[in-house]
Amino acid sequence: MMKGVLITLKLTGSSLVVALVFGFILALMRLSTSKTLNLIGTWYIEIVRAVPVLVIIFLAYYSLGNILTLSGFTAAVVSLGAFYATQYGEIFRGAILGVDKGQTEAASALGMPSRTIMRKVILPQAFFTILPPATNQLSNLIKDTSLVFTIGISDLMFQAYSAASNNFLPLDMLLEAGVIYFVFYLVLSKLLARWELNVQRSRS
């Protein structure tokens, strides 16, 4: 199982990076004044969010296989990244929009150029609005990595599943994996939430 945990973590980390980078691009597209970029971003998000993650994984692994063969791990990272980019994209966009318009105005009135405003005023404030939903999505991401066992990646879920099909003790195996997943969830949702609260309190 430890080997599975490592793979789960590696998968989570790589998918997260893809999702964050791509999500930020999506957010910028949807915030941009270009109608085309905006439309592409919007449609991408609408469509990808409407399809189950498992189906996306299968599409990346099997359907894409006709054109371009991705290894299982790559396909998993691509599909989880593609799906979670929509979640992170919306979080980023919401947070940037959520920063009071008065902040931009005040910064402009002080003569700051728009890049400085983004860097020094908007993003630092958006960061703290982003944290709670972002950790929430991260814990969803970890849970959804469990779906990649269906394309034969030996993650934590796979270890439990194949161990069960070997020793015929499904409850024990699944609960063992469940405890590990639950610990990740608690760490993310409780400890990080507490840390966020402390940071936020120190500033308000």
Partner: protein, 214 residues
């Protein structure tokens, strides 16, 4: 195209089955969700604690793991469920965990001032709930409820893994028999996409209507 023709009707039937399961499990989850939310807000401390942990566990475990525990795991202690029963139980159990939080935060998000105004007018707790809080909470919750239904629909994908003959199951069989997974999984994706978008659209309409007063 040949393959599309061969598999369109089984996939459509699978889609219909998924839709029925979605609706059924959504309704059941809503009923339980409201009861649990009331329990979590106003119940005995022990009830609050139990419901709180129930929600955490549902949210903390991967969906597929929960489903497998119910379908495969329980057999170890002698409980054998059919794919349909296990699937429905899981969808409701899972949905309830999420619905509780939607209802709870919907009720709490109605401004405190509304409760106070109702108290100051002498409105009792029950009338306040029915006439003041719930109508507003419902409008506040609609977006979350719409995503909830879409989430439940997407969750039905997993049922093929325990052998329930839904969209994915048909696509899988097709992919096995024809070795043309590209087409078949795209068909499955399209089926989910269409249903999700329709649900989203209905939710949006309802939301427009419910929030007309704003």
């Amino acid at each position: 195209m040949h393959i599309v023709g061969l598999y369109i009707s089984p996939i459509a039937i699978g889609a219909l089955k998924d839709l029925i399961l979605t609706i059924l499990s959504t309704l059941l989850s809503f009923v339980l969700g409201i009861l649990f939310a009331a329990g979590r807000l106003y119940g005995h401390p022990v009830i609050k604690l139990v419901i709180g942990w129930y929600v955490e566990i549902i949210r903390g475990l991967p969906a597929i793991l929960q489903l497998f525990i119910i379908f495969f795991g329980l057999t170890q202690i002698g409980i054998n469920l059919s794919p349909l029963t296990a699937g429905l139980i899981w969808l409701v159990a899972y949905g309830t965990g999420y619905a509780v939080e939607i209802f709870r935060s919907g009720i709490m998000d109605v401004a405190q001032g509304q409760r106070e105004a109702a108290s100051a007018l002498g409105l009792g707790r029950w009338i306040t709930m029915r006439k003041v809080i719930v109508p507003q909470a419902f409008a506040l919750m609609l977006p979350a409820l719409t995503s909830f239904v879409v989430l439940q629909l997407k969750n039905t994908t997993l049922l093929y893994l325990i052998g329930y003959a839904d969209i994915m199951y048909q696509a899988r069989l097709g992919a096995d028999a024809t070795e043309a997974p590209g087409t078949l999984y795209l068909m499955a994706a399209a089926a989910y996409l269409i249903m999700s978008l329709v649900i989203g659209r209905i939710g949006y309409r309802l939301e427009k209507r419910a929030t007309a007063y704003r």
